[in-house]
Subunit: 215 residues, 2 copies
Amino acid sequence: MDTKHRILDEALTLFSEKGYANVYVADIAARVGIKAPSLYKHYRNKQAIFDAIIEEMNKRFLEQAGALQINGADAKADADIYKTISEEQLITLGNNLFLYFLHDDYTRRFRKMLTIEQFHDKKLADAYMKQYADDPLSYQGMLFGLMVAAGVLQTDNVEIMTLHFYAPIYMLLTICDRDPSREKDAVKTLDAHIKQFNKLYGRSEEQIKKNRKKK
Amino acid sequence: MDTKHRILDEALTLFSEKGYANVYVADIAARVGIKAPSLYKHYRNKQAIFDAIIEEMNKRFLEQAGALQINGADAKADADIYKTISEEQLITLGNNLFLYFLHDDYTRRFRKMLTIEQFHDKKLADAYMKQYADDPLSYQGMLFGLMVAAGVLQTDNVEIMTLHFYAPIYMLLTICDRDPSREKDAVKTLDAHIKQFNKLYGRSEEQIKKNRKKK
DNA sequence: GTCTATAAGAAGATAGAC
DNA sequence: GTCTATCTTCTTATAGAC
């Protein structure tokens, strides 16, 4: 990784831990292994470093194309998986998703930085909400809509059903961000949550088998 | 309100909007209507102002004695209300609760400040989680437990049921904190959420009437 | 591109008059 | 208790040698 990019990486780490104002350009430089004035050969000033991070974040978010996407492929592929999924598989998917969000280094640091800096800049608040509220709800909602059409889930309000699935995941995520030692407990709760969700929204095993045969 | 207390009030407002590091003692002083050096007759330094705010917050949180408490009275009174409550009343209660959290000036500013500063100081992260995750879940869980015992709600996992009730409220709250213009939409979603919750966890009207007669 | 030296300007805090 | 003047320290950023 070249110096220019390493600066962004180290800056993101520091910003996510202390917030923009509490990080000094000398701190960033030290972690990169150079002196502060050398930074200015790569970026015009401190704000430019921050802006570059946000720009890269937006690029990555776009690439993800929907925060709660399961396999990174297109939506139709995900939808097919969902239609014939068993409870255990749904739990595994939920777990992987949650743990990816929680552990992926970039995602985690971005999320923490956005949390700290969101009230400084409306754009950051918007980015946060898009990434962790609106996009997951709309993507999951679309998948669940297909599952309802396939008869795997039953409800007359897909939007609320999606909220019931995702809000607990979101809440557990904010808890673990603040206190990583609670992760083990959160995973257990997540399991129980998905099982209960599955029970409430009536996925009948027969319907799933029927869908498998059709395939 | 005396000067000493006005300093805390104005400082809380500024901290909740910009974060500790971006607020200058001169800003606080200006809002109080004095000059910066005069502040030092009331508080030893900037950090002492912050600490005093946290201390007052802890005092207020203790007084609340459970974040999601409905009427501020004892739990048994709340439980009695819940046992004979109609769907409409449950929605009204949920709404009032949500809007209180969202609009109450002190609560709102504290929450925003904790959100911004939580990664600087573990104690703040703990305070945030206690106030907005653990306490609401444990208090609501206790009430719901009584309701299940009374036959108004049905589940074999009260903890998860409580999470299903509260997590959407929590998520809507964090959305509205970041973008107040979404409040109207959030209230609608909240309504639909509680109705769905009510349907899923099977409150039978007959059982409620029976409970009313017993009284 | 990296360094040392240093300028320029904040921002926190104190001294001492009133 | 509040003020003006001032000190001190910290931090960003630049100048200019290598």
